[in-house]
């Protein structure tokens, strides 16, 4: 892999916990401004993979580069830590646990601006309002503590907070999985609009193949820590090459679906 490829280049990523290999030689590329879905079931290593990208876990092997800059090692100092934060941000799955219960919505976005920008208090305040309105939150929500908000509203706050850093890449770790389906569509809509306007890249971690169809241009499929299939979304979903991908697709409920069809595929894979 050359060091100067544009975008995010993950090469041979590996993570072990004791005897268990959680992520085993995973490589992929995310072109600037594009959207890549990381698909897998529990134990597939999809969450561990993205946690290594943002530095919440240390890889045991492999490299993560953004525009040729390596970010696999521990940051050496404050400015390196901050510049990495400006590259990749993350939205977590559980909207009920991803906000500090003691910090108001506006405070939560404002503190990010204080850390990452040189805006003065007035400029910060107007930027907070701007970010919140971008995700569809108003004055009333701004002064509220998280416990007064619904799950969907909290997830909007988490998105606004991540966008405040103006990252190049946003990782969404099952970010709509815990939401009601009508709210899920709102958030997907919002995410699509944000990407259109800002050219941010998405790494969309999900177990839900139906969502993948509507949010990602490319998809990689993980199974037990290994990458089993990668390609353009439509190709992978319409003409899967790996039996596991086919099994996943056969398992998605829809009208006229026969769940028994998935069973032989699963047995064949062990």
């Amino acid at each position: 892999m050359t060091g100067t490829t544009k975008g995010l280049v993950v090469d041979g990523l590996r993570k072990r916990y004791g005897d268990h290999t959680a992520v085993d030689d995973v490589s992929f590329t995310l072109a600037p401004g594009s959207s890549l879905a990381v698909v897998g079931e529990s134990g597939s290593g999809k969450t561990t993979t993205v946690r290594m990208l943002v530095g919440l876990e240390r890889p045991d092997g492999g490299t993560v580069r953004l525009d040729g800059q390596d970010r696999s090692a521990r940051p050496r100092n404050r400015s390196e830590r901050l510049s990495r934060a400006r590259e990749i941000q993350m939205v977590f799955q559980d909207p009920y646990l991803s906000l500090d219960p003691r910090v108001t919505v506006a405070g939560c976005v404002e503190e990010v601006l204080r850390l990452h920008t040189r805006l003065n208090a007035d400029a910060r305040r107007s930027r907070v309002a701007e970010l919140l309105s971008q995700v569809g939150l108003g004055e009333r929500e701004a002064t509220a503590l998280p416990r007064l908000l619904s799950g969907g509203q909290r997830q909007r706050v988490a998105i606004a907070r991540a966008l405040a850093v103006e990252p190049r890449i946003l990782i969404l770790d099952e970010a709509v999985a815990a939401l009601d389906v009508s709210i899920q569509a709102q958030i997907l809509d919002l995410l699509a609009a944000i990407r259109r306007d800002s050219g941010i890249g998405y790494l969309f971690v999900t177990h839900d193949l139906a969502v993948v169809r509507h949010i990602a241009e490319e998809v990689i499929v993980l199974k037990s820590g290994r990458l089993v299939e990668a390609g353009p979304t439509d190709r992978v979903l319409d003409a899967p090459e790996h039996p596991y991908t086919r099994l996943l697709l056969d398992s998605v409920p829809r009208r006229g679906w026969n769940p028994a069809l998935a069973a032989p595929g699963r047995r064949a894979l062990g």
Binding site: A210, D250, S251, P253
Partner: protein, 335 residues
């Protein structure tokens, strides 16, 4: 609030295994009682699979738990919940225990919360059989056959193991085996696969539908997942803010929804088929009955709402082969 609403002529004939009529539930919450359900009517015929679909706050879980007499502490009810003709709401403790041992079984979302972690799986599966008077040896034999039927390898060994030695999907199979052990007339499944991986979900659903068909059990399947309901149910009830807003046969519900909420749900559910349209969100958020304004609870989120919608609560009325609670259902609006 009890109201007689016309019932759907359903596919099965004869006595329904479950007949909920005008069920209202209110919770005491300080001084003001908080309503949860209002006039819920629902039927399951023998051998029929009925879906109960709704988002959070819709009251679908409370409605399905009422079938086993599991209501929140201090809840006040109106209406009736008849299982095989007898009203569950007026049963005493002994009658409820007999009901749960013989007639109705329930499968919950989290199998770990449903089994006692300190007791062997064998005790759990045979519990219901023993309670209905089966000798120990016969119950064990039956339990082995059931575990085999739900696809657990080495059923004899499994009976001696503890719940923590099983994965979530395997444990849910055990729970289903236990639920079907006493050949209940009705199985209530409350989001039984929501916590499971998609491939495991497919297997559990395959097992559930096969055993249900073999035993002729009526199934009330509660889910938030419209696609899943469309795949396995004969008929679907859609709930919103503590009320049933629409019910009809699955095909007609999905092809020609008459309630704007149903069609909104269909439009916002991401579909996997090639060329499927982008999910179209419904504005606002789902509310519970306690938060709902007067009139139609969905009016504030509805693109077709008129002034009348926020004044008068629409009642369920017959349109096509089912019922819809919408003032404009007869106008033939293209939803």
């Amino acid at each position: 609030m009890t109201q007689d609403s016309p019932q759907v002529r359903s596919t099965g004939d004869g006595f329904p295994v479950l007949d909920i009529d005008g069920l209202g539930v209110r919770l005491p919450d300080g001084q003001a009682a908080r309503p949860i359900l209002d006039g819920v009517s629902l039927r399951v015929q023998p051998g029929e699979t009925v879906g109960l679909v709704g988002e959070s706050g819709s009251g679908k879980s409370v409605a399905c738990r009422s079938v086993l007499g599991l209501l929140p502490a201090g809840a006040r009810t109106s209406g009736t919940v008849r299982v095989a003709g007898r009203d569950v709401l007026t049963m005493n403790r002994t009658e409820l225990a007999a009901l749960r041992a013989r007639q109705v079984a329930m499968v919950f979302q989290d199998p770990r919360a449903a089994v006692n972690p300190l007791r062997r799986v064998g005790d759990f599966v045979t519990e219901g059989l023993r309670a209905s008077g089966m000798p120990a040896a016969a119950a064990t034999t039956r339990a082995e056959a059931l575990l085999d039927a739900v696809g657990i390898r080495d059923p004899r060994g499994a009976l001696r193991r503890f719940p923590h030695q099983f994965s979530g999907g395997m444990l849910q199979r055990v729970v289903i085996a236990a639920a079907l052990a006493s050949e209940p007339a009705l199985l209530v499944a409350d989001e039984p696969t929501t916590a499971l991986d998609v491939t495991t979900q497919a297997e559990i659903i395959a097992i559930l539908t096969r055993l249900r068909a073999e035993q002729g059990t009526g199934l009330l399947f509660v889910t938030h997942d419209l696609e899943l309901a469309s795949a396995i149910c004969d008929r679907v009830y859609v709930m919103y803010a503590g009320r049933i807003v629409e019910t009809r046969g699955t095909d007609e519900l999905f092809d020609r929804p008459r309630h704007p909420y149903t069609s909104g749900l269909l439009a916002c559910t991401p579909r996997i088929e090639p060329g499927a349209p982008t999910p179209r969100p419904i504005p606002g958020r789902p509310v519970s009955l306690a938060e709902a304004p007067p009139g139609c609870a969905f009016a504030a989120r509805c693109a077709h709402a008129q002034p009348r919608c926020s004044e008068e609560t629409p009642v369920l009325a017959r349109y096509g082969d089912g019922l819809t609670a919408c003032h404009r259902a007869d106008e033939g609006i293209t939803l």
